[in-house]
Point group: C2
């Protein structure tokens, strides 16, 4: 029995939805069941993508499967998400994304018009991110063997010489930058899936972050860690970095931007925005002497206007994240435990 569900027990002989949450149980599945089996130093980095040298060229390689439900939602659709997701995973390795693959699993009976709409959305997203979709695969499974359509994208990018970015490279003293308001994607999916009776203008923040990342890197160094806080939200992504780098991370609640409407919906439904998924935001750990100039670069970019420094990397409490609350207290911010709702991306 796994111990993470306070007071509850869980059958640990089967896979639970929570294993796909991006939170603690996902982390355990990956670090205990998967990484030890495929045992190699690249996979062990546990970054958003793999970085390796191939014949003197430094490449990044990443994969992501998208099972989001609903497939069309305010601000985007599964196709746009699939392109931006892999573009961003490559960018989080400091790479310039170049080539994407597209593997689709389609349920028999799926609408051809919807498929065309998704493909067109992928085309447009690829154009915006300046990547090419160069190879693909299409499988069709019988009705009820899959739900509508799942899309895997994998991608290859080029890591510029001298760039060294990874979740294990946060240093004490680094400033933690967040590129904008959190929780919009998660809330959008939730209220549209459940067809809740909200009058809401909240929409997904899905966006390609590679151009912004390129500018951040070109600015002149000091960027140690990049991560996009998707499944599991900001809290989980910061915990991963704290664990990988064996540092503490302190954040200030007052500095974390959340759009007013998103914040209200979270409050109403009892969700903590720190754990809600994002699809167009990044966290950067940046050397203190570069933090202001990197922040400036981010803020100049359309997807980073509301960026701010939300905290710093410290020596205390290695592996933990803690937050100064608005009312002046300090609390530990753990990884997501317990799937709030599945199929967010």
């Amino acid at each position: 029995m796994v111990e993470h569900m306070k007071g509850q027990t869980m059958n640990d002989s089967v896979i639970h939805l929570d294993h796909g949450s991006g939170g603690r149980l996902s982390y355990q599945l990956i670090t205990r069941h998967i990484v030890p089996v495929f045992d190699n130093p690249i996979l062990k980095q546990l970054d958003d993508g793999a970085v390796f040298d191939i014949d003197r060229i430094r490449l990044a390689f990443s994969t992501d499967s998208f099972t989001v439900d609903p497939i069309f939602f305010p601000g985007g659709d599964i196709g746009e998400l699939a392109v931006n997701g892999t573009v961003n995973d490559l960018a989080m390795c400091g790479a310039v994304p170049k080539y994407l693959s597209c593997g689709m699993i389609i349920e028999a009976g799926f609408s051809m018009a919807d498929l065309n709409r998704i493909l067109d959305s992928m085309r447009l997203a690829a154009k915006k991110a300046d990547v090419q979709i160069v190879t693909g695969d299409t499988k069709v499974v019988p009705k009820r063997a899959a739900d509508k359509v799942f899309i895997n994208t994998s991608g290859v990018g080029l890591v510029p010489p001298g760039v060294e970015i990874g979740g294990h490279l946060a240093r004490v003293g680094d400033k933690v930058i967040l590129s904008g308001p959190i929780a919009d994607h998660g809330i959008t999916i939730l209220i549209n899936r459940e067809k809740m009776d909200f009058e809401s203008a909240v929409k997904s923040d899905t966006a390609p972050l590679n151009h912004m990342v390129y500018a951040m890197i070109q600015q002149g160094g000091g960027v140690h860690v990049l991560r996009d806080p998707t499944r599991g939200g900001l809290a989980t992504a910061l915990n991963e970095i704290a664990l990988q780098s064996q540092v503490g991370i302190g954040i200030y609640e007052a500095n974390i931007p959340v759009n007013t409407e998103t914040s209200s919906i979270c409050e109403l439904l009892g969700f903590d925005p720190l754990y809600m998924a994002n699809e167009g935001k990044l966290i950067a750990c940046v050397a203190p002497d570069h933090a202001d100039s990197v922040l400036e670069v981010i803020q100049k970019h359309a997807f980073g206007i509301d960026a701010s420094i939300i905290g710093e990397v410290v020596a205390d409490h290695p592996g933990r994240v803690f937050m100064k609350t608005r009312i002046g207290g300090t609390r530990i911010v753990d990884m997501l435990t317990g799937e709030p709702f599945p199929r967010i991306c």
Copy 2:
């Protein structure tokens, strides 16, 4: 309405199982709906993987999603298939496969023991093929939103200098080599899925072909086309080559190896082995002056003992495949039309 189902009509506003067969309807979906949207010269090659230059290095990149049912079968399982499938797609580009990704979509409630068994099988397959699984992604969907587990693997390989292999490069006069008996994988999946009451020793031929391909290329040139005849079988793969290269391909039925038991089961069930899936076989179009030495290299390899020259590339009937039958006639061999059964890989 699409015209391919003789005498039948099909609703062309939705996706049919047949769109995933690897046959004619798959080809139409890809060439009419997908390739024009993502319009780029690499994707247009319609090969098993994409080949491109990145900073003066020639890379191959490929993706494949595996939805096979049952997930465990004589001769292999979905994990081994997923590794070998992408290894082979890269090898068919003439590349040396290096790095693989693993994207899993798991149905909630799936057995952890089965997952571990699949992961271990992937580990072993990666070891045999000499590739590393360096990045991954795991999604869990609710019960009945997927059937057990789907695995996407994508891969990156290095194309050695001077190697130029592609489906469009078949030349008139080329000999067509087949590396061994066909239809074993398809028949294995069929009789195990349907739990047919056969006493059968037929098992999947899943195997990594990269080491054999490397030896074929090192032998000294002349290899113009490589393709593994998976979904859609030998007949469909030959048709794809004929279309891509705008040549005719003539084959001799008597030269095409089929294991006796597989042949009997095909006859009994009314399936044509030419259209049954393979997972460890390849077709090569080789310049006539290199054909014998390439054949010899293949036959020396464990996965190519029963290889033979099954035909040749001709100028007549460009885009078509025709076969001299055992009884002396000649017939057109078309692409697969009509899905015999889905989820074969």
